[in-house]
Structures are given as C-alpha cells and as structure tokens.
C-alpha cells in the first residue's frame, strides 16, 4: 500500500511517501499500526483531531474501510484558497 504525507505531517514523518504491507481494516487501524512503527510516526499521529485522511484520493472518515485501497494519504486540515 502506498502512503502519502503532506505539509507538517510529511515533515514530522520525514518523508512524503512510503510503501507498507498492512492487514489494517480501517484508516484508524492503519494509524494505530503506523504509530508503532517509529517515534516520528508516533509524534506525527499524536493529535488525531488535526489530521485528515484520504483513501485513493477521496477524503474519508477514520472508520472508512481499507478494502482494495491502493493509496492512503494523511495530512493536516486543508488551507487552500
């Protein structure tokens, strides 16, 4: 599965892209798994209130299923415009 990180989440994790193997069923499960992966990940995901997720480039809630997902992205609330 491709993971993508943006803005300060990318900076905290230290990369904008990583490829992982996972059995996580939901976005929330995936986050819990990632938090175990490194201190940087744990720090990056420490405040879920300021994190948004997209599965295959669609914005989703944390309880969204990962069935068939190829790309999951995490980032702070968006500030376009």
């Amino acid at each position: 599965m491709d993971l993508r990180y943006f803005a300060w989440l990318r900076e905290r994790i230290g990369t904008g892209h990583e490829v992982i193997e996972t059995e996580a069923l939901t976005v929330r499960d995936l986050i819990e798994e990632l938090k175990q992966q490194s201190e940087a990940h744990a720090f990056a995901f420490s405040d879920l209130g300021s994190i948004r997720a997209a599965v295959d480039q669609d914005l989703v809630e944390f309880d969204a299923p990962l069935t068939g997902a190829r790309e999951v992205a995490f980032f702070p609330p968006m500030t376009g415009g």
Partner: protein, 148 residues
C-alpha cells in the same frame, strides 16, 4: 479551455477572465474572485509556499465545480489554483462563474471558495524573517460549509 487548473506558473487574471467570458454565450452575469498573497500578522511575508496533493487536487476541484454547476444552474465555472513558492502580491487562485442571473453567479463563486478552502488538498506555509510557519485551518472555514 480547462475549467479546473492546478499550476505552478503565474497567471494573468484579466486574461483568464476574458478567456472565460468568451466561452459563455448566453450568460448575463460573470463574477470573478481572485485571492492575492499579502502580508500576514506574524510579520513581513517573504513568500507563501503552497503544497498540494497532485491527482487528488484536480479530482477534488472538479467535484466541487460539478456540484456548484448543478446547485446554482451555472452556465460555466472555472477554478485556477497555484502551488509552489509565491512572492507577496501574486495571485494565488481565481474562480469565475457565469449565470443568466446575478444572484446565482455570486452564490456559486462563494460556494466554490468555501469548499475549495477546506475540501481541496492545498496547504499554505508562510515564510517571514522569523522562519516558516504552516497556516492553521480556521474553524470558521469548516463552519462556512454548513451554510450550503
């Protein structure tokens, strides 16, 4: 003419407006909005850096535009948004709407802006003499969506 564009290059808002207007036969009203980088509370802005999520950005903007087209019976709508490093005084983004009647053109443009602000994957970072700082999303921005 592409109705949704995400680009690093600067663009000319007047040229964009004219190009848009040329394609909208039958519209009686054309509204445009342009957002410009300007000095910020934290000090003199040296530059604004805009990061985005290639692929998802175009997808999100296209969806927002489609929704606006239907909801406000727009004859046409356009979104241009830049990414990368922008000096102060440059145009960050622009939307334009065309409708038979005035009220819809304004409402359509405001809808595009509200959704673009918190549903399209852009993140702004301000660079001042003091350093770099990611712009925090405002709870107002999320609240703004509720009016639609």
């Amino acid at each position: 003419m592409e109705r949704v564009r995400v680009q690093e290059a600067a663009f000319d808002m007047g040229l964009e407006l004219n190009r848009f207007a040329r394609h909208v036969a039958g519209a009686g009203a054309i509204v445009s909005f342009s957002g410009i980088t300007r000095d910020v509370a934290s000090g003199d802005l040296e530059a604004m850096v805009i990061e985005h999520y290639p692929g998802m950005t175009e997808r999100a903007l296209t969806r927002i535009r489609d929704e606006a087209m239907g909801r406000f019976s727009l004859v046409d709508a356009m979104i241009v948004h830049r990414f990368g490093r922008l000096p102060p005084g440059e145009v960050i983004m622009m939307v334009a709407t065309a409708t038979p009647h005035r009220a819809d053109a304004f409402a359509g443009a405001e809808f595009l802006l509200d959704f673009l602000k918190s549903r399209a994957p852009f993140w702004k970072q301000e660079i001042t003499a003091d350093g770099r700082e990611w712009v925090a999303a405002k709870s107002d921005d999320e609240d703004a969506l509720k009016r639609w």
